[in-house]
């Protein structure tokens, strides 16, 4: 049997960026009820296959809007967005997202929440059970498999959403402040779990966070955004090796990194404060 051209095209081209944004902007039209809101861009961004990219920026600068564009939930007002070489139109297969707001389904138990997407996709039940069990253990929800979201803390619900996304085995994982509801210490430990997951799956990760230390510790590269309309004013390579964990916070270069990020962000955050 000969190999069809379609199958050949599936072989990942390592030189090609995994996701690419060129001149992407997003403007919210208010249809005559006041000025349009220029929320984002223009943004140019190449995400390398398998890299861990972090985004920091002042509140309201368009981070979530950027995630919506990559997830195929919002179309850019101008510019182009691609995933695995194809233009993003609708949600691409192989992209998973965890949103800033709690998106757990309150009418389903933790197990059913995590299994929801797999059941929709018609995955074999034994395989669903295996993957769900693994993800629940991985996210530290073992004792809560039968609990409902209303019985969980905000941080735990967010972990349910992460587990629900991971079981789909996405090649690009988009995370919007997933640890926002956690205290600083738990956040560092969850960061370790995230790094472990990233190494295990080889997925490309884009993590939005407002915690500079989190960005500096987790990411291969950190993109710093300006105040709205958000553009990348700096992209910093951290230079950590893949086997890193939260202990690098005591590395001398870690302080330099967060210091540098704050330097770039301070001015932008002040703008946000002044303009409201």
């Amino acid at each position: 049997m000969s190999v069809s051209p379609a199958e050949v095209a599936v072989v990942p081209d390592t030189a090609m960026p995994h996701a690419r944004l060129v001149g992407v902007t997003r403007v919210f039209s208010r249809r005559g009820k006041g000025e349009d809101i220029h929320a984002l861009g223009p943004i140019d961004l190449d995400l390398k296959r398998g890299e861990f990219f972090s985004v920091v920026g002042p509140s309201g600068c368009g981070k979530s809007t950027l995630l919506d564009v990559l997830a195929g939930l919002a179309t850019p007002t101008s510019g182009t967005a691609e995933f695995e070489g194809r233009p993003i139109a609708g949600v691409p297969a192989g992209v998973g997202a965890v949103f800033q707001e709690d998106a757990s389904f309150p009418w389903l138990s933790v197990t059913d929440n995590v299994a929801f997407g797999l059941r929709r996709a018609g995955v074999d039940p034994a395989e669903i059970a295996r993957r769900v069990d693994y993800a629940i253990g991985f996210m530290g929800l073992r004792g809560f498999a039968d609990a409902y979201p209303a019985q969980l803390s905000g941080g735990m619900r967010q972990r349910v959403c992460i587990a629900r996304t991971l079981v789909m085995q996405p090649r690009l994982i988009l995370l919007d402040e997933p640890f926002g509801a956690l205290d600083a210490q738990t956040r560092l430990l969850m960061g370790d779990e995230l790094l472990r997951m990233w190494r295990e799956t080889g997925a490309t990760v884009l993590l939005i966070t407002h915690a500079l230390d989190e960005a500096a510790m987790l990411a291969d590269r950190v993109g710093v955004m300006s105040a709205r309309p958000g553009v990348f004013i700096d992209i910093v390579a951290t230079g950590w090796d893949a086997e890193r964990d939260s202990r690098i916070v005591s590395h001398p270069r870690f302080g330099d990194l967060t210091g540098h990020l704050w330097e770039r962000l301070r001015v932008e955050s002040l703008k946000h404060l002044r303009e409201g």
Partner: protein, 249 residues
Amino acid sequence: MTREGWIRLLVIAAAVAALELACRLGWVPVTVVIPPSAMAASLVDILASGKHWADIVISLRSVAIAAVLSIGLGFLVGAVIHAWPLVRGAVEPLLASYYAVPTFMFYPVFIILFGVGPAAIVAIAVLLAIVSMISATLVGLDRIPLVLRKTARMMHMGPASRALLIGLPAALPHLFTGVKLAVAYAFIGVIASEFILSGAGMGYAIAYAYNNFDNREMYGLMLLIILVVTVVNTGLDAVDRRLQARLRR
């Protein structure tokens, strides 16, 4: 049972005992109110003789039909209005002031349209009940978090499965508030209409007993209606509590 539950039971028991005492001591003449014990005895007679079974069935059937119609149509109308923001903006004030209108005054219209009988009764009950379901549907659909719709889209769900598997369960606790109200209004609509629009049913039986100075039978029937409504409402409350428990704090 909770402490509140016990106190509640105590309050009811005290009120019943006070009424019993007042009647027995002759403070309240039996031509006005009969003692609760006599009401209960009358109720037992009514049920044992079976002479009102047909009335009970007719009333409950009308209530069930009116409730199902109000809930189904109310949900549909609510969903359509919700999908149409311009229309919604126009009609929402009307819905809000709807219950200021004494719906029962329209009873002659319904007699002309449906004649005297169950159809006119169900129509009045639906008219009374449907708006509470429409309002609850609007609230329920408003309360579906946007992020759940995004999540469904990430799972490549189409509009139909999104509505059915995400929208409906997310809105259900709020929709159920409408269901409870619709059932309550259906009872009010049916029993009250039977006084004037019917030759059968529990409402008619009460009016008939009243016109024949049969206080014992009248109070027995009233007690029966109170018991039926309490049972139905307790059942709906149990479902409601389960649904509300799932809502986030």
